[in-house]
C-alpha cells in the first residue's frame, strides 16, 4: 500500500511534445499529478489525451520534453519501465484472456511470478476486499460483464505496485450504475493515497469525481484548475474553444408532450416478438413496440438485456422465434437486403466494427449497401459524377464544417469523424425507420450535438426513430416515449413527463417497486 502523504507530487511533465509526421499530437504539455488526487484529463476526440497517457505509460516516446517521477527525470522506454516507476494503465478491454480465470489473467501480467496460486488468490481477495471490488478470482473472465472486467484490470495494476493509475475513457464501456461504482472505487483509491488519472470527454463525470481538471485542446493544455473552481459552462468553452462556447452539451429538447396524430400506421412494429440468445436462452420475450412516423421511441436498458437483438431481428441476422415484425403495417421477411429495400437503416452498437470498411475511402463507405445505382452498363462502368455528388450531399448534411476528404481511407479518420460519416450514410437513404444504438457514445460534445440534431431533423420530416441508449438524460430529453427493457421483457412504455429518470433507472435494473406511470 502506498504511504504517500497527501498532496505529494508524484509525477510531473515539462514541455512534453509528441509529433506524428505533420501532426503535433501533444505540444508542450505540463502536467502535475499529486498523490491522493483524482486528476481528470478532459478533451474532445483528437485533443491528444490518449497520446499523452501513452507517453506517461512508456508506450510512446516523447519527441521532446521531460517526465519526472518523484522529482527525478526518467526515461520510460517501454510499459515495463512505466510499471517499474509505479505508473499503471487500466485498459478497457482486449487485454484479458476470456478463456482464463481472473487470477490466471492477473498472474500472467505480473512481472515477477514468485507467487504460488494460493498466495495470489489470497492477495486478490485481500485487494478486492480492501477496495470493495467484490471480485471472485476464480471466475472465468468470459462470463464477466465489462464493469467487472475493469475491476480485474484495476487489481492487476494495483498488484504491480503502481501508485499512479491511468484510466483511459473508463466509462465508455460501462452502464450508468457501473460508472457510479467506478467513481466509488476512485474515492477509495484517493483515500489510500493513490493518484488516479482519469481521461474522459464527459463533463458530468469530471465534475462528479475529479479533484483537479486539466483540459486539453488540440494537443495543448487549455487550462488546469481545481474541480472546485470548475463549472460545466466554463469547462465546455475550454474544451471547444471560443467559437463553440454556447453550451455545447445542451441537448436539443423535443417539443414536450406532443401527442401523435391518432390513426397513423407505425413505420416499425414488433408484434409479440421473441428470440433466443446464441446459447438458446430467451433473448427477447413477447416484445410489443411500435414506432410511428416522426416519433422518437427510446429504449432504456442496461447492456445485455435484449436491446442488442432489436436491430439484428429487423436485419434478419437473428431469427424471430415467435411473433412478427411489421414495416409500414405490412408483415416483412427480415434480411439485410429486405430491410434496406424497405427503408430501414441501423446505426449499430459498434458503428466502426459493424458499419465501416477500414480500407475503403470515405466515398466508398458512404455508398455501402446502396451502391448499385453508381455503376452503369450492368456494373462495369462507374458513374463517378453521380457518386461524387451523392457522397458530397451525404457528407454536408452531417458535417456543418470541415468534412473529411472523400478520398481519405476510413481507417485514417478519427473515431468521431468516422462515426459521423456512418450516421451520414444511414440518413442519406432517407429511411422511414432508423434503429440507432448509442448514437453519441464515444462522440465528443460538438459531434454528439451534431448527431442528435441530425436524427431529430429527420424525425421531424417523418422518420420513425428507435433510439436505444443508456444515457437517461439523453433519453428523457430526446424521446417522445421510452420503452424500458429488462431481461428481454418490456417493463412498460412511458412518456418522459409522466415518469422520472430515477424510476426508469430502477426498472432498468430490474427493481419491481418502481411506480408505473
Amino acid at each position: 500500500m502506498p504511504s504517500a502523504s497527501r498532496g505529494e507530487l508524484l509525477l510531473e511533465t515539462r514541455g512534453l511534445t509528441k509529433v506524428f509526421g505533420a501532426l503535433r499530437a501533444n505540444d508542450g504539455v505540463d502536467l502535475r499529478i499529486h498523490a491522493a488526487e483524482v486528476h481528470a484529463v478532459l478533451g474532445e476526440n483528437g485533443a491528444g489525451k490518449s497520446t499523452l497517457m501513452k507517453m506517461l505509460y512508456g508506450y510512446y516516446h516523447p519527441t521532446s520534453g521531460e517526465i519526472f517521477v518523484g522529482g527525478k527525470p526518467v526515461r520510460l522506454g517501454s510499459p515495463r519501465h512505466g510499471r517499474a516507476h509505479g505508473i499503471g494503465m487500466v485498459f478497457q478491454n482486449f487485454t484479458l484472456i476470456p478463456a482464463l480465470e481472473v487470477w490466471e489473467n492477473i498472474a500472467l501480467f505480473l512481472d515477477k511470478r514468485p507467487l504460488e496460486r494460493e498466495g495470489l488468490l489470497e492477495r486478490i481477495r485481500e485487494v478486492s476486499r480492501a477496495y470493495r471490488l467484490d471480485l471472485d478470482p476464480r471466475a472465468l473472465v468470459r462470463e464477466l460483464p465489462f464493469g467487472t472486467r475493469q475491476k480485474v484490470e484495476i487489481v492487476k495494476v494495483l498488484l504491480t505496485g503502481a501508485r499512479i493509475l491511468i484510466f483511459d475513457e473508463p466509462t465508455s464501456v460501462l452502464a450508468p450504475h457501473e460508472a457510479e461504482a467506478l467513481f466509488t472505487i476512485f474515492d477509495e483509491l484517493r483515500g489510500r493515497g493513490y493518484a488516479v488519472v482519469f481521461i474522459t470527454h464527459k463533463l458530468a463525470e469530471v465534475l462528479r469525481c475529479a479533484d483537479r481538471i486539466t483540459v486539453l485542446r488540440r494537443g495543448r493544455v487549455a487550462k488546469s484548475l481545481p474541480a472546485g473552481e470548475a463549472t460545466k459552462e466554463g469547462l465546455a468553452s475550454l474544451l471547444v474553444g471560443e467559437a463553440g462556447a454556447t453550451d455545447p452539451e445542451a441537448i436539443p429538447r423535443r417539443r414536450a408532450g406532443t401527442s401523435l396524430p391518432s390513426g397513423l400506421r407505425p413505420v416499425l412494429r414488433f408484434d409479440r416478438v421473441s428470440c433466443t440468445t446464441d446459447d438458446g436462452r430467451p433473448g427477447l420475450t413477447g416484445l410489443d413496440l411500435a414506432v410511428h412516423p416522426g416519433e422518437v421511441l427510446g429504449v432504456a436498458a442496461v447492456s445485455g438485456n435484449g436491446q442488442e437483438y432489436l436491430g439484428d431481428l429487423v436485419l434478419g441476422l437473428r431469427p424471430v422465434t415467435e411473433g412478427r415484425i411489421l414495416l409500414g403495417g405490412e408483415p416483412f421477411d427480415p434480411s439485410p437486403v429486405a430491410a434496406l429495400a424497405r427503408g430501414v437503416a441501423c446505426i449499430p452498437e459498434d458503428p466502426l466494427g459493424m458499419g465501416a470498411i477500414p480500407g475503403l475511402s470515405v466515398r466508398e463507405n458512404l455508398i455501402l449497401g446502396a451502391h448499385r445505382p453508381y455503376w452503369n452498363a450492368g456494373g462495369f462502368v462507374p458513374d463517378r459524377g453521380r457518386l461524387e455528388a451523392a457522397a458530397r450531399t451525404a457528407l454536408t448534411t452531417a458535417f456543418v464544417q470541415a468534412p473529411p476528404s472523400l478520398e481519405a481511407l476510413a481507417e485514417d479518420l478519427s473515431g468521431g469523424n468516422l462515426h459521423r460519416v456512418l450516421i451520414a450514410r444511414e440518413l442519406s437513404r432517407n429511411p422511414i425507420a432508423l434503429i440507432s444504438y448509442y448514437l453519441t457514445r464515444g462522440l465528443d460534445l460538438s459531434n454528439a450535438r451534431a448527431a442528435r440534431e441530425l436524427v431529430l431533423a429527420h424525425a421531424a420530416r417523418g422518420m420513425g426513430l428507435l433510439f436505444i441508449s443508456e444515457d437517461l438524460d439523453e433519453l428523457f430529453t430526446l424521446c417522445d416515449r421510452i420503452l424500458v427493457l429488462h431481461a428481454g421483457r418490456s417493463r412498460g412504455i412511458f412518456r418522459p413527463v409522466e415518469t422520472s429518470p430515477r424510476d426508469v433507472g430502477l426498472l432498468m435494473t430490474g427493481a419491481d417497486h418502481a411506480r408505473a406511470a
Partner: protein, 338 residues
C-alpha cells in the same frame, strides 16, 4: 500522410528484403560459397543473356496466373493455398478435352476448348472448398491446401490409367496433343501465355478497382460483418471469387501442357501454385506489383538451375531463399498488425 505511409512501407519492404538476402548470404558462406559470386551467377544466368531472360519469362507466365489465383480471393479475405491442385486439375481437364476432341481439331476450336476446359477444371477443384467455406463449415486455407495432394494423385490416376499413351510404354504420359491445341510461341519457348497473363493482370485490376463487383469484393474483404449488414452477398461472392481463382490457376496448368510440354505428364509443375502464393503475398495482392514480384521470383527460380551448374549447389538451394522471402512477408504483415 498517405505518401508518408507508402514511403515508410516501401522502406520496410526494402529493409526486409535486404535482410532475407543477407541471411541467405550467411547460409552460402557456411557452405563455403562466396555470396557475391553466387548472386552474380544467379543474375548472369537469368538477366545476362537473351536466352536467360526468355527462360525467366517462360517461368513467369504460369506464375502470373497462379499469383492472381491467390490475389483475388485474398481481396475477399480468403486464403487460397490450392493453386497447385487447381493448376493440376486444369491441366487434366484441358488434356482430356484435347485427347477426346482428337488430333485433327482445328486451332479455332482447339485453343478455346483447351483453355475453357482448363479453367473449368481449376474452378471445379476450388468449388468444394468455396462451398464449404460459404456455409461456414470448413476453413478454405486447410481445404485448399489438402486438396493439392489429392489433385496430384488424381492426375497420376489418369496419366497412369485411362489417359496413358499405350505407345510410350516406359513413360507414364498421355499422347501428344494435336497441333490445334498447342499455344503459339512468340520466340523460342516464350508463348502467347505472356500476353494472356498480362491481360489477366489488367482485367483483374479493372475488376477490383472499377467494377461494382470489385467494390463488393473489397468491401466484404475489408469488413465482412459490415458488408453483410448492408446486404452484400457474402456466400455467392465467396464461391464466385474462389472459383475464379481456381479457373486462373487452371489456365496456368493449361498453358504449361499446351505450350511447353505438348502432353500431360505427372509432376509437370515446378511448384507454380506455391510460388504464385508467395508472389501474391509479396505483392500485397496488387495486380501491378504481382508483375514486379513475379519477375523477381521467376528470376530466382530460373537462376536456381544455374547455381547447380556454376556453383555446385543443389538447385533446391533457392527454395531456402524463397522461404526466407515468405518470412519477409510474414514479418511485414506482423509489423502492420501492431
Amino acid at each position: 500522410m498517405l505518401a508518408l505511409r507508402n514511403r515508410s512501407a516501401l522502406a520496410l519492404d526494402a529493409g526486409l528484403l535486404a535482410g532475407a538476402l543477407l541471411l541467405f548470404s550467411l547460409l552460402l558462406l557456411t557452405s563455403g560459397k562466396n555470396p557475391l559470386d553466387t548472386y552474380g551467377s544467379l543474375l548472369r544466368s537469368t538477366l545476362g543473356s537473351a536466352y536467360g531472360l526468355s527462360e525467366v519469362v517462360v517461368k513467369l507466365i504460369p506464375l502470373l496466373f497462379t499469383a492472381l489465383a491467390v490475389a483475388l480471393p485474398a481481396r475477399l479475405g480468403l486464403v487460397n493455398v490450392g493453386g497447385e491442385g487447381q493448376l493440376h486439375l486444369g491441366a487434366l481437364f484441358a488434356a482430356s478435352a484435347a485427347l477426346s476432341l482428337g488430333p485433327g481439331t482445328p486451332g479455332w476450336l482447339g485453343l478455346p476448348a483447351g483453355a475453357l476446359a482448363g479453367m473449368l477444371g481449376g474452378a471445379a477443384w476450388a468449388f468444394a472448398p468455396a462451398l464449404l467455406r460459404s456455409l461456414g463449415w470448413l476453413n478454405e486455407t486447410i481445404s485448399t491446401l489438402l486438396l493439392n495432394y489429392v489433385a496430384l494423385r488424381v492426375v497420376d490416376f489418369f496419366v497412369y490409367g485411362a489417359l496413358r499413351d499405350p505407345g510410350s510404354a516406359n513413360v507414364p504420359q498421355t499422347k501428344a496433343f494435336g497441333p490445334g491445341f498447342l499455344w503459339p510461341a512468340f520466340t523460342g519457348r516464350v508463348h502467347v501465355g505472356i500476353a494472356l497473363g498480362l491481360l489477366a493482370l489488367a482485367l483483374a485490376a479493372v475488376l477490383l478497382f472499377l467494377t461494382r463487383w470489385g467494390y463488393e469484393i473489397r468491401a466484404i474483404g475489408g469488413n465482412p460483418v459490415a458488408a453483410h449488414r448492408h446486404g452484400l452477398p457474402l456466400a455467392a461472392t465467396t464461391i464466385a471469387v474462389l472459383c475464379a481463382g481456381g479457373a486462373l490457376a487452371g489456365l496456368a496448368g493449361t498453358g504449361e501442357i499446351m505450350a511447353i510440354q505438348g502432353r500431360l505428364r505427372p509432376h509437370f509443375s515446378a511448384d507454380f501454385g506455391y510460388l504464385g502464393f508467395l508472389i501474391s503475398w509479396l505483392a500485397g495482392h496488387r495486380p501491378l506489383r504481382i508483375l514486379v514480384m513475379g519477375f523477381l521470383v521467376a528470376v530466382i527460380a530460373t537462376g536456381g538451375d544455374s547455381l547447380q551448374l556454376d556453383q555446385g549447389l543443389p538447385s533446391a538451394t533457392v527454395n531456402i531463399l524463397m522461404a526466407l522471402l515468405l518470412f519477409v512477408v510474414l514479418a511485414r504483415e506482423g509489423k502492420r498488425g501492431v
